[in-house]
């Protein structure tokens, strides 16, 4: 399936448009918030510390507004972008890899592992981890990685292991961990709200340090996934065809699963479980790009980032100064939008 020149130009334009939208949504998201800072001031504050360009801004701004733009909004918007990108990239890869339109980044139980870790941190009052990360972030990341390793080891235990055994192992461990989390909640009623809200996902506590772990992991992971787009295309045609194309199916699969799960672990540990993005963004983007992962994957990654930035901006401005968990917004906004696309494009909704 070579991409011809005309298509290539069209696709290039499409990606450039997406990148422009991403850039604009980042700027808009930074200029909006609960604090009373008008858009002009917000941009002024944003530009002022930048070398050379910053000199055009002569106005002086309140120190607290600097803090709001630079220490709160900017890291928060960037974290939302990176998490959205990671979830969309991992979701796209898993859907292709498992040849299952219902697959999402949490399919191997990574999210349950993360909430188990976070729950332990919350009830034990472990509030700070290391390098300025929250205790729940560190614990969630470790829980997610451990769960992934367990699912992978157990799912691969049999000689004739397949994707199905892996999926089943994921489901089993996932419900087991969810049960433990519920069990812990029963005995810690006072922490119930914290735990439930953690599982709904939020960027409310984002700071620069939240980016230390998630940003490099998700960025590197997503780049690895992008380089494997060709292999993913081959896997879509079935194991045998892929093998005939000279692809080491089990090695590729292993790598995709591990990289996707690590991305998901980093995303979930930074923000809690944000549903929908990893499941729906790939489908929405597929409607526009088709099932070719060389186009689908980069387009889905950027779209995931845009969607998450918009959702989070709504989460913190709709009923400001009250914060809404962003997971509620993603499903509330994303659900009807996806149904609309589904009905409009009934013929080509899923071809992946």
């Amino acid at each position: 399936m070579p991409i011809n020149t005309k298509n290539r130009i069209a696709f290039g334009a499409y990606i450039i448009i997406l990148l422009i939208i991403l850039f604009i949504s980042i700027l808009f998201a930074i200029s909006l918030g609960a604090a009373d800072i008008n858009m002009e001031d917000a941009f002024g504050i944003l530009i002022k510390p930048v070398p050379f360009i910053g000199r055009i801004i002569n106005a002086n701004y309140d120190e607290s507004y600097f803090s709001i733009i630079w220490d709160i909004r900017l890291p928060r918007v960037l974290l939302a972008a990176v998490v959205g990108m990671g979830l969309a990239a991992a979701g796209t890869s898993f859907q292709g890899l498992l040849r299952n339109p219902m697959a999402d980044p949490y399919v191997l139980g990574v999210s349950s592992g993360a909430s188990f870790g976070a729950t332990l941190a919350i009830v034990s009052g472990l509030s700070s981890g290391f390098i300025g990360l929250a205790g729940s972030t560190v614990a969630a990341f470790m829980g997610a990685i451990t769960t992934m390793a367990a699912v992978y080891t157990l799912g691969n235990a049999g000689k004739h292991s397949s994707m199905v055994t892996l999926l089943l192992a994921g489901i089993a461990i996932s419900s087991f961990l969810s049960a433990i989390v519920s069990f812990i909640m029963v005995f810690n009623h006072d922490k119930l709200e914290s735990i439930v809200l953690w599982t709904m996902g939020s960027f409310a506590t984002a700071s620069w340090s939240s980016l230390y772990l998630s940003f490099p992991i998700i960025l590197i992971g997503s780049i690895i996934l992008l380089t494997m787009a060709r292999e993913m295309n081959a896997l879509l045609m079935g194991d045998e065809s892929a093998m005939h194309l000279g692809i080491d199916v089990s090695r590729v699969r292993k790598l995709l699963l591990i990289v996707g799960s690590i991305i998901t672990a980093a995303a979930v540990s930074a923000s809690g479980i944000i549903g929908f993005v990893g499941l729906i963004i790939p489908h929405v983007v597929r409607i526009f790009t088709g099932p070719d992962h060389r186009r689908l994957l980069p387009a889905a990654s950027i779209s995931g980032a845009i969607f998450m930035i918009i959702s989070d901006t709504l989460a913190r401005t709709l009923v400001a100064p009250i914060e809404i968990p962003v997971g509620i917004i993603t499903s509330l906004v994303g659900g009807p939008f996806f149904l609309y696309l589904l009905v409009r494009n009934r013929k080509q909704a899923y071809k992946g």
């Binding site: 918030g33 609960a34 604090a35 009373d36 120190e63 607290s64 507004y65 803090s67 709001i68 220490d71 709160i72 909004r73 919350i122 009052g125 509030s127 700070s128 300025g132 929250a134 729940s136 009623h189 006072d190 709200e193 914290s194 809200l197 953690w198 939020s202 409310a204 506590t205 700071s207 620069w208 340090s209 913190r316 400001a320 100064p321 009250i322 914060e323 968990p325």
Partner: protein, 319 residues
């Protein structure tokens, strides 16, 4: 004729005594706290309850007790504290998991936690009165009443509810004297604290409910009322209930004081949050941790809660 004179004499003496008594009270009335107790004394003559007695609880429910309760189960920590304060500690046969004050409460049988009282355990104790905690325990209340156990429900949303609840429990348990004394004591203590801070400037206070997500106490909560009474201004009075508050709004409002409780986040946890480093409370080191069990319960230690709050908001008048 003689008899009539005697009666007249007695009446005259009685009148004189009353007048002297009244003027004495007026003399002492310059002190406002005495004023209140005088008022209380006049208002109600705490008599003993005659059973069967019917009381109307805070939730406007009528509850009838056939005799003085001897086995009481309390399902909330504040009700447990009230019952102990009324001297009924020995009659309490079961409490919820969180009832930990006074010390003796810990050795009483636990019959479930705040959300889930265990009906079987309670029934087994054969209580003649259960004191429950309002909305959240409604299901349990229904089940207990179906078993024929009288339940007094309290949902103390503020001081008035608390006073009413103490009064109701006093009437129900034949401890009206103690109940009136407790109410008077609380009113006096609270008023004397409120008076000390009334004319002072009002520092901006942020109350931390959970630092993992910046949860706070908004308008209408008892915490918010306490902050106002203690001479502060709650920065989160533009929201209601217990929401997740926008951190940039905290920075914009720049609170002078942050009050937290241990499990909500320690002072160190708050100092470590880089986004908050420029607000006054953090720069001046005015972050204080108060005892959650005192500050969050609307019970007989509410005067201590207010005092603790007032001491950190206005240390200058509490030395």
């Amino acid at each position: 004729m003689r008899k009539n004179r005697l009666i007249l004499l007695i009446l005259t003496i009685a009148m004189v005594v009353t007048i002297i008594g009244c003027s004495n009270q007026q003399g002492a009335g310059q002190n406002s706290s005495n004023n209140i107790s005088a008022l209380q004394d006049e208002q109600s003559q705490p008599a003993s309850s005659t059973y069967p007695v019917t009381v109307t609880d805070v939730k406007e429910r009528n509850v009838t007790l056939e005799k003085k309760p001897e086995k009481i189960v309390s399902l909330t920590p504040s009700n447990t504290e009230i019952l102990f304060a009324l001297g009924l500690g020995d009659s309490i046969v079961g409490v919820d998991k969180y009832s930990n004050y006074p010390e003796q409460a810990n050795s009483i049988k636990k019959v479930g936690d705040f959300n889930g009282p265990n009906i079987e355990l309670i029934a087994e104790l054969k209580p003649d009165l259960v004191v429950a905690g309002g909305d959240i325990q409604e299901d349990a209340i229904k089940k207990l009443e179906n078993l024929g156990i009288p339940v007094i429900s309290s949902e103390a949303g503020g001081l008035e509810d608390l006073y009413k609840n103490i009064d109701v429990l006093g009437k129900a348990t034949d401890t009206q004297q103690e109940a009136q004394e407790l109410i008077t004591k609380l009113k006096n203590n609270i008023q004397s604290i409120a008076q000390k801070v009334a004319s002072l400037n009002k520092p901006k206070v942020y109350f931390n409910v959970d630092i993992n997500g910046f949860y706070t106490a908004g308008k209408g909560t008892f915490i918010s009322q306490l902050i106002e009474m203690a001479g502060g201004k709650n920065v989160a009075d533009d929201v209601e209930g217990w929401p997740q508050y926008s951190v940039e709004k905290i920075i914009e409002k720049n609170p002078d004081i942050i009050i937290t409780t241990e499990h909500a986040g320690t002072i160190d946890d708050i100092k470590k949050i880089s986004a908050l480093k420029n607000i006054n409370a953090v720069k001046d080191g005015k972050i204080y941790s108060l005892d959650a069990d005192i500050i969050n319960r609307i019970g007989p230690r509410v005067d201590q809660a207010l005092e603790g709050m007032a001491k950190v908001i206005h240390p200058e008048v509490f030395k």
